[in-house]
Point group: C2
Chain length 330, copies 2
């Protein structure tokens, strides 16, 4: 059997996406090469961050952390963090702990979203979900352990010469993205929206935007903002990258919703159509597939506008990332 | 019905403890008055930290946070944080955010420990557990929200004039206490120890110490260390308070285990004998009730020794706290 859901496979899918989908930004910029390189340095750093320790009482948690953290994924959030750092003139290496931290938070949220009391999902990136392999108790603890390690990792950025003021500001951004101003609020709203009647869906766009601004965009926003803070960006640069990432995050979710109803489980590497089955509100359900696609394009244009103040030679990775997200097929 | 499990009731139980139990340290020091005062300022700060917001999608999480955070408890950890800050010469007010943060982490761990996939408990401080009231999904999110708010709260200590270096160091201590060097490791070891055979229990003391060093002592240690860091303590002072808190934390758990087998649910305000039913390893099970009591006394003596380098006029709160823990009846 092919190892379909490793990072290499994710990047190979990324490659296919770019071979088949129209692209408008990558004149002379090799996004696949860039993304592959960033993913490599992130994967190495993530692997080093969670060693397999000798204590059998902690080993199981470390194995469970590694299971989700190192099971593929396109590393979009870390890449965004590194790219934002470099865009404001910082060294990539200083943002690696922050980029790892953001991916740990993401992995933690995936473990929780899949729990029986949440979305009750058994498949993630083509593999059994964390609680299916390690048990629900260990999965819950693993999610905590990833949040704690993320805080620790990000807080350790001072050892790369970043000032404590900036690191603390980055820690605050990350905490905001996790709690009731971010992921928690998004997931709570998502759960509250399940099984809502069609009447409610007609006025459901506001609710839907709330879910995705918090559940998806908040962490992409944190990734970009943390990168920009660590990289030494000005307040204006940080806020511009925040707005870019918010548009990109919302766009990511609109595309995700469209893929959920237009692709198979095989193509997606996760259960297709599950939002429909769970009675969840999605963009296709509220505005139809075509209008959802148009909305994603509009968000892509807005995201690009927020990048206009930056050096046009340096902005290619983020322009290409937005194009990749809007054109992705899985 | 009497409101038995409010903070006032907790402190009234504390009062009874001191009226009935022998005490050796409080010559001229009014521990009840001290503890009541500290609990008051902490309760006010905790109440302010989680307002009931207008957004109905976030309101439920805020209600669930408040339900556990403000449902009584003796505020031992925050008191330890404030006392450590003052002992090293800091102002109490600068340590209030840190003290709140530690209590938020504690509340988060209580919610998680009670989940069906963990200890599956329905009673906590005489009230239905968080997931019984709000549902399992909201309880899991609430635990996250409390961790995120704790990080945010502690990180905001700079607004009280504490240097970013010290705040960052405190954040690192807190993250350590939450993850695989603290609560997560303790709970994982606790779950792994359930239903172990008696043969295993005979060599189980090391396992038991591991559980409690991580599950209980780590957070008490973080409370004291965070207070000492925020208060401007020297490295030596910080480490002395760390060792004091570790002994006190272990002692706390030894006493807890003894109470679990010698008191009724009514007296404890939580399900009595549940460790026995769950087949958990406890000190009474490994070494018997009498030897457990002697061990607690030994830990109290050790805790006091670690305080010997400090100003004897300022050390009364922490001496009294250790006495209170070893003599408590619930």
């Amino acid at each position: 059997m092919r190892p379909r859901y490793t990072v290499v496979a994710s990047l190979s899918r990324l490659h296919r996406t770019f071979l088949t989908a129209p692209s408008s930004s990558d004149e002379g910029f090799d996004f696949i090469f860039y993304m592959t390189n960033k993913a490599k340095s992130i994967n190495k750093a993530l692997n080093d961050a969670v060693p397999l320790c000798n204590n059998p009482l902690v080993l199981k948690i470390h194995e469970a952390m590694r299971y989700t953290l190192l099971s593929g994924g396109k590393r979009v959030r870390p890449m965004l963090c590194l790219a934002a750092c470099e865009l404001v003139g910082g060294q990539e290496s200083t943002a690696v702990p922050g980029a790892c931290a953001v991916e740990m938070i993401h992995a933690s949220s995936l473990i929780q979203d899949d729990l029986p009391c949440m979305d009750d999902d058994s498949l993630r990136r083509g593999k059994p979900t964390n609680h299916k392999v390690f048990g629900e108790d260990i999965a819950v603890l693993t999610a905590d352990a990833l949040i704690a390690l993320a805080v620790k990792k990000l807080a350790s950025s001072t050892s790369f010469g970043v000032s404590p003021e900036r690191v603390l500001r980055a820690v605050l951004e990350m905490a905001k993205a996790v709690g009731t101003e971010g992921l928690v609020a998004g997931q709570a709203a998502d759960l509250a929206g399940e099984g809502m009647s069609l009447e409610e869906n007609e006025v459901g766009l506001k609710h839907l935007e709330f879910i995705h601004i918090h559940k998806t965009a908040a962490l992409l926003e944190a990734a970009a903002v943390i990168g920009a803070i660590i990289g030494g960006g000005s307040d204006e640069e940080i806020e511009r990258l925040r707005r870019y990432a918010r548009c990109t995050g919302l766009m990511f979710q609109v595309v995700d919703d469209v893929l959920d109803v237009t692709k198979s489980s095989e193509e997606l590497g996760k259960t297709a159509g599950k939002d429909l089955i769970a009675g969840k509100m999605t963009y296709p359900r509220v505005m139809g597939v075509e209008k959802s696609r148009e909305y994603a394009e509009k968000l892509n244009r807005e995201a690009r506008e927020h990048l206009q103040g930056f050096d046009s030679n340096k902005v290619a990775p983020l322009l290409s990332l937005a194009d990749y997200i809007v054109n992705r097929q899985n």
